[in-house]
């Protein structure tokens, strides 16, 4: 009788990395739909373009690294990275901006560090930060929500958008479909108080609903992930709480000069970051306690960068900074194990 010898356990949950990635992709659907509805076809085009590039780059680099192509491509992690970058960059960003971004994310931020599971930084955020610093014009040309463009659904047509991304169009054309984001408006309001800025800016008074809706869509996806236990609540909740508490404190102290917690939570990339970016397991802290610290740090940093920094939104920088701190957090946030009166701290040994 020929029987095999195996180490226990002998049964496994049918739950693969590819499955996890598929569920993450599924959870982004509401956000993608909302972005397409409010900001036009750009997001979808970027998604397809970024996805194709990501798979291509991943395949090439796997080939160079002599790794089995099918095995690694099927885990879907490249697609998730591409998706996160595609929804983060402006819908009208030129094709080469996306290409550079994907190259940086997949080749440099991921594979040069050793591939899946080895990268210390969130690849999409590395790419985003690099693009933001290198191409400020292209990266700040955000589309205006359709509600500001007139009656009906007056977004740029699919082919116009395609042309804007892959060809070249007049800068005048851009002007008619792009505009400042609420965070930009608030950042560059001069000496105006919140109330004055609100009254003066169309984006703030009329268009902000689009960002609220998109944020709500991301939140829905996040709740789905929480429900399916793909992510834990620790990092998202602590990040949102930290951001809310910081903004509430300053808003309470000086409501004229500081935006309120609701504004912070429902604009920019807050919700996207909370549920899809900082929950990237590879580059975040690993223990539950660690994730709480990690998330809170990001929340505080986002508020600081938005309020006093040079950039209107600070998610990418906040995430990267906390990525740096993640290993350190891990060392000091071990849980208390069964039968131990307190948690161990530090590395132990000679480290």
């Amino acid at each position: 009788m020929s029987l095999i010898r195996m180490s226990s356990p002998h049964v496994y949950k049918t739950n693969t990395t590819a499955n996890v990635m598929r569920l993450v992709l599924l959870a982004t659907l509401p956000g993608i739909i909302a972005m397409t509805v409010f900001f036009g076809w750009g997001t979808l085009i970027q998604l397809v373009w970024a996805g194709a590039l990501a798979v291509a780059f991943e395949a090439i680099i796997l080939k160079i690294r002599r790794r089995p192509l099918g095995f690694y491509l099927s885990d879907g992690s490249a697609l998730v990275t591409a998706l996160l970058l595609a929804v983060a960059i402006p819908p009208f960003a030129p094709w080469w901006v996306t290409a550079v971004g994907i190259f940086v994310a997949i080749v440099i931020a991921k594979h040069l560090y050793g591939g899946l599971g080895q990268n210390p930084f969130n690849p999409a955020m590395v790419a985003y930060a690099l693009l933001l610093i290198s191409f400020p014009v292209e990266m700040t040309r955000w589309s205006a929500p359709f509600v500001l463009n007139g009656e009906g659904w007056p977004v740029a047509s699919f082919f116009d958008t395609l042309g804007a991304i892959f060809g070249s169009v007049d800068s005048v054309w851009y002007d008619s479909f792009t505009g400042a984001t609420p965070l930009d408006e608030l950042r560059h309001r001069g000496g105006l108080t919140n109330e004055e800025a609100w009254r003066q800016s169309v984006v703030l008074s009329e268009g902000i609903g689009a960002w609220h809706a998109v944020s709500a869509a991301w939140l829905m996806g996040g709740i789905f992930l929480l429900y399916r236990k793909i992510i834990t609540w620790h990092a998202p909740i602590s990040m949102l709480l930290a951001l809310a508490i910081c903004s509430a404190m300053f808003y309470g102290y000086d409501p004229d000069n500081y935006a309120g917690p609701f504004f912070h939570l429902s604009t920019g990339a807050t919700m996207l970051a909370a549920f899809f970016i900082i929950t990237d397991p590879v580059s975040s802290a690993t223990s539950n306690r660690g994730r709480i610290i990690f998330g809170a740090g990001i929340g505080v940093l986002i508020f600081i960068i938005r309020t006093w920094g040079n950039y209107p939104d600070g998610v990418a920088f906040a995430v990267l900074l906390m990525n740096l701190a993640a290993p350190f957090i891990d060392i000091y946030s071990q849980p208390r194990s069964y039968g131990h009166s307190k948690a161990n701290k530090g590395q132990g040994g000679k480290a």
Binding site: M1, L3, I4, S8, T17, P281, S337, Y338, H340, N344
Partner: protein
């Protein structure tokens, strides 16, 4: 029903328990051959008390426990001992181990056995010894000898007895069926344990997926005077882990590295309680158990009452195995069981389940993917560890960090590997790290031991060196002092201490010579062996070797000769040994004389009774003095006689020596006065002759008389 607490993590794998609970427990047909492993648990293997060819009766002891943690073995049925030797056993290592093989005779003839009449009136020690003699061991996990756990009451205060009926592993239903059918026996066993440990509280922990078993237990408990609680816990793996169940039932955690008894809790498996019952009430040793035979590859999943030692093949046959479907044979549950490769492996006391799995049921693990640090393992870890950190540390051989992350609190339940989306065999990594650390520690201990020994040796050598040095210094100082003394007493040029030093030095020389001789002999032997070897193999340089051997032969002979000479020359010196006695005797005599004188003086001043007493004392003293004097004189005479026997007149010798010395002195004086060269030369020649004569005489004298 009391409060149930919760433990961290846990998983809900498919239960697969229904298949094997459809029919009641069935008795197995008697197998032809039984293999009973001598070691079925940690601790020391039992020692066989039967010989090959013996006929044994059912229940007869065939191996006795050795040491404290060891369990007796009994013949599960009557038959003939066929062999005692290595046979495949159910162990993760897959190695063979010693088994007693019994060929059954089908008669089922019982050895004479009887239960204890009233165990409550017995000494606890006697009762526990009875249980030990019945070979009862834990039937849930590690097969720990039960008597050791029952002794816990001696040095621990046991306030809670936990009966583990959780049976949290999928597939296994042996305990479930036992509870359904033999609740009375279980209760009887609990009563015995309770009598021994006297806990204030007894809790039976059982998962809520066994309603019939719970019902049966409740029915059996009716009217029971003991404080027994049935605590139904939610179905979650691994709630049957000892530490997890204790947390569930009491909310208390067993401290890391300690045993439950340290916090006043003793845990017993439900199957063990039934075994205790049968041992105490019927005197039946543990020779059979209930085993679940299940899996897709058997036609009739069921629970069987199986004799210990029955090969798995018989169980599979009894359940209708599909040979072509059978892919993996697991002993135990799917989470922690071990695979067996051989169907002749026997059932042991801890075999609760055999899963004959098909490929679909337990497919080979998918290829390992990179860890994405998702942390799902952490969410399910019942020991609240960071499994993925441990994985990284194990992979990177950073064992110090792994230990710091409490690797040794891992119970290897497999929950982390079960949920891992990257299909990483995490438990294997931990086993690897643990064994590496254990090996490292053993080696460290060995190295420490060796170092300590080396240091001790070094210290001893240094001390010896220092002592030698001190002795040498003392000798040198003494010699210097003697030199000084000789200078001051230059008129009487007698070499006094020099020869004394020579005497003490002589034995050392003899010893050194002996060693030298031995070394030379050894060298010679080695050289001879080398030569022989070289001759046999026709190696180069035989000539050189031959020359070496001859040289060594000569050397060895010379060394031997030197040693023998030295030994012979020391013999007369040894004859001088009684001379020391003579000196002491002389001293004693003079001491006594003084004492007598003192006593006489004291006597003159005394009167009355004291005087009489003193007189008595004095007479004793005198008597002793006389004796001592006599002994002294006899010794002196003996010495003179001895000298005379050698043809030397000691007295004459003494006189001659004195005269020779005087002559030397005289010559020296006249030499000092004389100024003419010629006369001086003549005198010097005379002096040299006189000195030589005096020295010879002195030396001779010294040989016969102590210095």
């Amino acid at each position: 029903m009391g409060k149930v607490f919760a433990f961290h993590g846990g998983i809900h794998p498919p239960e697969n328990k229904k298949q094997s609970t459809r029919t009641p427990i069935r008795d197995m047909p008697l197998p032809k051959v039984l293999y009973i492993p001598l070691q079925q648990h940690i601790g020391i293997a039992a020692s066989p008390v039967v010989n090959i060819g013996d006929r044994v009766l059912k229940g007869q002891m065939i191996a006795e426990p050795v040491g404290r943690i060891s369990a007796a073995l009994h013949a599960p049925t009557s038959g003939i001992i066929r062999s005692i030797g290595p046979h495949p056993v159910p162990h993760a290592s897959g190695l063979d181990s010693d088994c007693i093989c019994i060929e059954t005779d089908g008669k089922e003839e019982w050895v004479e056995h009887h239960g204890l009449e009233d165990y409550t009136r017995l000494e606890p020690g006697t009762l526990i010894e009875h249980i030990r003699q019945c070979g009862v061991a834990g039937m849930g996990g590690a097969g720990f000898p039960t008597d050791v756990k029952l002794h816990l009451g001696d040095n621990h205060i046991v306030n809670t007895l936990v009966i583990n009926a959780a049976e949290c592993e999928p597939y296994i239903t042996a305990d479930d069926m036992m509870m359904r059918e033999r609740a009375d026996e279980i209760l009887g066993g609990i009563k015995v344990i309770s009598h021994l440990l006297k806990p204030s509280h007894i809790m039976i922990g059982i998962e809520d997926n066994k309603p019939q078993a719970i019902h049966a237990l409740e029915a059996a408990l009716k009217g029971c005077e003991l404080n027994i609680d049935i605590r139904v816990v939610p179905t979650k793996y691994p709630s049957g882990g000892e530490r997890q169940l204790i947390k569930l039932l009491t909310g208390i955690e067993v401290p890391s590295g300690r045993i439950p008894a340290d916090i006043g809790i003793v845990c017993q498996n439900i199957g063990t309680t039934a075994a205790i019952y049968r041992a105490v009430h019927f005197g039946e040793p543990l020779i059979s158990r209930v085993v679940t035979v299940t899996g897709d590859a058997v036609a009739q999943p069921q629970n069987l009452n199986v004799l210990i030692g029955t090969p798995f093949a018989d169980l599979l046959d009894a359940s209708g195995v599909y040979e072509n479907k059978l892919y993996r044979l697991v002993m135990g549950g799917p989470m922690m069981g071990v695979t067996v490769e051989h169907d002749q492996i026997p059932v042991i006391k801890t075999t609760n389940c055999i899963i004959a799995a098909s490929t679909d049921e337990m497919p080979p693990a998918p290829p390992e993917q990179p860890c994405i640090r998702c942390g799902m393992c952490e969410q399910v870890c019942p020991a609240e560890l960071l499994p993925q950190q441990l994985y990284w540390f194990a992979k990177g051989r950073e064992f110090d960090k792994a230990k710091n992350h409490n690797l040794f609190d891992c119970i290897e339940c497999g929950a982390c590997a079960y949920v891992c989306p990257s299909s990483i065999p995490l438990v294997q990594y931990y086993r690897f790290a643990k064994s590496e650390i254990r090996t490292e520690e053993t080696e460290q201990r060995k190295a420490d031991h060796a170092r300590e020994r080396f240091e001790a040796r070094q210290a001893r050598l240094e001390r010896e060196q220092a002592e030698k040095e001190a002795r040498r210094k003392a000798r040198a100082e003494e010699a210097a002092r003697a030199q000084q003394a000789r200078k001051t007493a230059s008129e009487t040029p007698v070499a006094e201490t020099g020869s004394a030093a020579a005497v003490t030095a002589a034995p050392v020389d003899v010893k050194a010579l002996k060693t030298a001789a031995a070394v030379a002999r050894t060298k010679l032997k080695k050289a001879r062996t080398a030569l022989k070897n070289a001759e046999d193999k026709g190696l180069d340089g035989i000539d050189t070797l031959r020359i070496t051997v001859t040289t060594l032969e000569q050397k060895a002979d010379a060394a031997d000769q030197a040693y023998k000479d030295a030994e012979a020359s020391t013999v007369p010196e040894q004859a001088a040994a009684p001379a020391v006695d003579l000196k002491t005797l002389k001293q004693q005599v003079s001491i006594m004389r003084t004492k007598i004188k003192k006593a006489e003086t004291a006597l003159a001043e005394l009167d009355g009774e004291a005087r009489a007493q003193a007189e008595q004392d004095l007479s004793t003293l005198r008597q002793r003095h006389e004796e001592a004097d006599k002994a002294f004189k006899a010794a002196e005479q003996a010495q003179i006689d001895a000298a005379a026997a050698q043809g030397v007149d000691l007295k004459k010798l003494k006189i001659d020596a004195a005269m020779a010395r005087a002559a030397v002195t005289k010559l020296e004086r006249s030499l000092a006065k004389t100024e003419e060269d010629e006369a001086r030369a003549a005198l010097e020649a005379e002096l040299a002759i006189a000195r030589a004569k005096a020295d010879t005489l002195n030396n001779t004298l010294k040989q016969h008389e102590p210095a």
